[in-house]
């Protein structure tokens, strides 16, 4: 009974932290989130995605192949709650809450009851887990599935194998990044575990099915792993040549050939990317500039947890590793997710590392508690650790819920929403509407999302799609999504321009002063900076 009450309390806390003000924090509703929601909306209304493909297992979206599972999971939420930010973020938040429960079960399976509870507590209040549960991302679902896979792996029941296979397939459909953790686990179970007693043919068929699913998702997987990799960076051959030139001036040419070549460069980059993932600075103190959805002045984990993680790991190694070796392996393979990337974004890709981290940290705490002999010292220990932990938590919450939404860098895009809604209200009045692509590389998706454009109408209407890095709709009916060049665009009459300070601000003011155009200014001021959106129409 006591146990259930504790779990309920944990879940309540987890829910509060993951559901409060969901639509406002994180402040930026990203293009990816909008695309996932709009595709879900499109599936809901027409059973087709934005590219008019019937119930696809592959969503091309911006050419980055969005996770099919997270789109399908979002469908019922959009159906119930309508097309808005809340319903788009709710699935991730709910999976985050479920994950907390799974952390508990896994802790119990691998360690013991107390460790399980503590693991769930750590996950509940984890800055990393909270932040990655609060926006629409497949990672939140993937961590849930991986936890589930681990739990099944550590338990024994009749249909275990079937469950593992299903989860494996779901993971492929959710987040290609999860494969580095889940596939080795699954293959180990299939071929090396003493539990599986299938014939080689059965095993072969299962592998075949997996390969087929992977092939179906091959675009998504290859995009995930091989897009924007460091070896596609063209400057590296020049760099090698330059280094070789220096070597040649001191050593025979052969030395330069041995130490400055593509293989060495490749290996050097791989090791840099791998080791970068264990950068304490970014794990415990600051976030990367790239991780837009994370608070940058805080780490992803609390420093106090590191001590207990090390104790837990230390103790496990010292006593008996056994099946816990799997956790160590997960810890070591997690960085492989983004090892080929030019810019490593550990904020999302390294997230699986939290599984071993929290489990060991919790066990480390319990072990340390066990070492203390008298009741008094135990109380002092628990109270002091609790005080430090609470302080870290409060500081994080303060930064995340108070400073994060106010920071200029993360400006809310409701401003874009307001401006564009005003223009699209009288869309018939204008000959053409030009939306700047400075604010976002794929502005059309915001137009579709914020204006709730009927998917059927969108699929049928005339459109142009192009882009090298990102596929974006550049023309849709009489709306154009492009950069605004006022020297050329000055002569266009009865055209509404929507853009930001850098597009329209400069000349908008002067033409409004001359009374040659109509300028509507939509401004949001936050403390550090301000963002203005303009709607400009040239007068005849």
């Amino acid at each position: 009974m006591q146990k259930i009450i504790l779990i309920v309390i944990i879940v309540v806390f987890a829910s509060i932290l993951r559901l409060t003000n969901l639509s406002l924090i994180p402040p930026k509703f990203s293009e990816d989130e909008a695309a996932i929601s709009y595709n879900a909306y499109s599936v809901l209304k027409t059973a087709k995605d934005e590219d008019s493909r019937l119930m696809p297992v592959e969503f091309i979206s911006f050419g980055d192949y969005k996770s099919p599972l997270s789109i399908y999971v979002t469908v019922p939420f959009i159906g119930l709650g309508g097309l808005n930010i809340d319903s788009s973020r709710l699935p991730a938040a709910l999976f985050g809450i479920f994950s907390v429960m799974l952390f508990y079960i896994l802790g119990v399976k691998i360690f013991d009851e107390k460790t399980g509870l503590l693991t769930a507590v750590l996950a509940t209040f984890s800055p990393w887990h909270i932040q990655l549960s609060r926006f629409s991302t497949p990672v939140s679902i993937a961590i849930f599935l991986i936890l589930l896979e681990l739990i099944i792996f550590y338990s024994s029941f009749k249909k275990k194998f079937l469950c593992l296979s299903v989860i494996q397939i779901l993971l492929i459909l959710t987040y290609p990044g999860s494969l580095v953790v889940s596939v080795p686990l699954f293959l180990y179970y299939l071929f090396f575990s003493s539990e599986t007693k299938f014939s080689l043919i059965t095993k072969g068929i299962i592998c075949l099915i997996l390969v087929v699913v992977i092939l179906i998702q091959k675009n998504s997987i290859s995009h995930f792993y091989f897009e924007s990799t460091f070896y596609k960076d063209l400057s590296f051959q020049n760099r090698i040549n330059e280094l070789r030139g220096y070597s040649d001036s001191y050593f025979p040419h052969l030395v330069g050939l041995i130490f400055q070549n593509k293989i060495v460069y490749f290996f050097d980059q791989l090791s840099k990317n791998y080791l970068k993932s264990f950068d304490f600075y970014y794990l415990f103190s600051y976030a990367w500039g790239k991780d837009k959805n994370l608070v940058d002045v805080m780490g992803k984990l609390y420093s106090i947890e590191l001590i207990f993680f090390l104790i837990g790991l230390f103790y496990t190694i010292k006593k008996n590793v056994g099946r816990k070796v799997l956790l160590i392996i997960i810890f070591l393979v997690s960085p492989f997710v983004s090892i080929l990337k030019l810019n490593v974004d550990i904020g999302t890709s390294l997230f699986f590392i939290t599984i071993p981290f929290y489990l060991f940290a919790a066990s480390g705490f319990i072990v340390t508690l066990g070492f203390l002999s008298s009741f008094k010292t135990k109380i002092v220990f628990v109270v002091s650790i609790l005080a430090i932990y609470t302080l870290s938590l409060i500081v994080f919450l303060h930064y995340y819920f108070l400073h994060f939404p106010k920071n200029g860098k993360n400006l809310n895009n409701s401003i874009f929403e307001n401006t564009s809604k005003r223009a699209f209200k009288d869309i018939e009045k204008y000959e053409k509407i030009v939306v700047s692509d400075k604010y976002s590389r794929t502005p059309y998706i915001y137009y579709l999302f914020y204006n709730g454009v009927d998917p059927k109408k969108y699929q049928e209407s005339f459109k142009q799609r192009s882009g090298s890095e990102f596929i974006s709709t550049t023309k849709l009916g009489n709306i154009e999504f492009r950069s605004i060049d006022y020297i050329k665009d000055d002569s266009l009459m009865n055209v509404a321009f929507i853009g930001s300070e850098s597009d329209i601000g400069k000349f908008g003011g002067s033409c409004a002063a001359k009374n040659s155009c109509f300028l509507y200014k939509n401004q949001i001021k936050v403390e550090e900076s301000e963002e203005t959106f303009y709607l400009l129409v040239n007068k005849k």
Partner: protein
Amino acid sequence: MWLNYNKLKITLLVIITLLAFYMRLVDINRVPAGFTWDEAALGYNAYSILNTGRDEYGDFLPFIFKSFGDYKPGVYIYLAVPFIALFGLTELATRLPSIILGSLMPILVFLISRKLLSGKKDLVGLVAAFFVAFSPWFINFSRGAWETNISFFENLLALYFLIKSLENRKFLAISAILLCSSIFTYQSAKLFCVFLFSGFLFIFNKKFFTKKSYVTYFSIVLISITVLISIAEPITRSRLVVLSQYSYKRSAEEVNGIVKQDYLIPSSFEFSFFHSENLSFIKTVGSRYLNYYNPKFLFVSGPSDGRQGALNYGMMQLFELPFLLIGLFFLIRNNLLDKKVILLWLLIAPIPAALSRDVSNTVRALPLAFALEYISALGLFEFFRLIQHRKMVLIPAFAVISLGFLFSLGFFVDRYFIHNPIHSSKDWLYGHKEAISYIQDNGYKYKDIYFTTKFNEPYIFYLFYTKYDPAKYQKQAKLINNRGIDVGEVPKIDNIHFNALYWPHDRSQEGNLYIGTWLEIPDTDIDPKESKLVKTIKFLDDTIAFKFVETH
């Protein structure tokens, strides 16, 4: 075992030491790419002591040298005196104390590991000595006149006697004396020495605090007094303040930004709770401390400053990484003496560096290198012990590891000896020697010579490279306070002025020579009617270091 293989081991150790000496001496005139002010100051003060018994300011045999106003501890300078007496005032002679003691470190590491493993696994010691001989971190600081290297040597020796004192308590006194000497060798050694000594006493308190533990008390008193003296001296204290992280607070803008977002006033409780200076201090120090264990820093990217190691190459060799992990695993598992001692060393080594102002500073964190190399050596040893009975694995593994080592070493040599000098020649103040030699040859032609202070403290290079008579200099030595940086500067020696150039004014002065950076004397502003570019000196990466312009 020791008796049978005694000779072999000694031979191997001698070979390793010779290799270490070679790695620390080879091409020393070209790598590092230059000679820093601190090195020049150490060398010149030793020269001054040798000739006059006084430092550059005329103080008789001082304990602490005023130098640039940074108050250098004297041990290095006195160590350099005999070498300068033998070889004259040269760069090599100044660096020799560091080179020689650095080359002896492998022996010391071998002895320490022998003591730690109570003479059982001598192979670990040999491997550790070998790793130390080729460690980028060790090599870099043994190739320059670094006080930290001498202090590190003393710390290692002190550790040896600390371990010995577990058998015979008398050695504790020797160890305490060595630690005191280390404190007088390098400013940042204080904290490390105190932590090492007190940590050791704490861990092995049962051995040291029994009846009649006079030696223990004597050692504690000795170290306390030394630390108190070194802190109490107002001049060194001021240096401590300059270097400590706590003296560098957040900027007013940063604090204002926080205040605005929070709608709080800085004196309110909430502000002091969430954004106090103390909290930000703890956070900064904590993250800096962790920074030193960053695998990326240790194995691939290395230091941010070309003087502190090979750029784009870690502080250790990448092939050691798996053995570091294996070593850590076995260090924890085996219940030997090395567990406590090495873990203690590993954990306290970055503390002084974490408390100082730089984000990562391999100079102050140098002691960390020992613990890491020892653990890697242990890892390699344990790895081979695991596979020793599987011949099918043993030979390929040996081959792969040897190749890995050779490649790593080759890569290091390429990066450190070829590319690093090119990219770090500016950090190493390349060009000063050439500039001074030009002044020496052509200085007589000019009324006054003006030398830029853009690279700080040019006067010491003038004194060093011209072997300026110390007695003559002591009479005119004068240090003015410079507000911008933490040390003072000397404005003038004879007719050579050391100050920042201001070309719009300087160009109209007749008969002078101006030596400045390309920013101070832009090409377009050299008017043939009034001035002439007579020489340029370039850094090794082909950017301009100095321009020599005469006015007529």
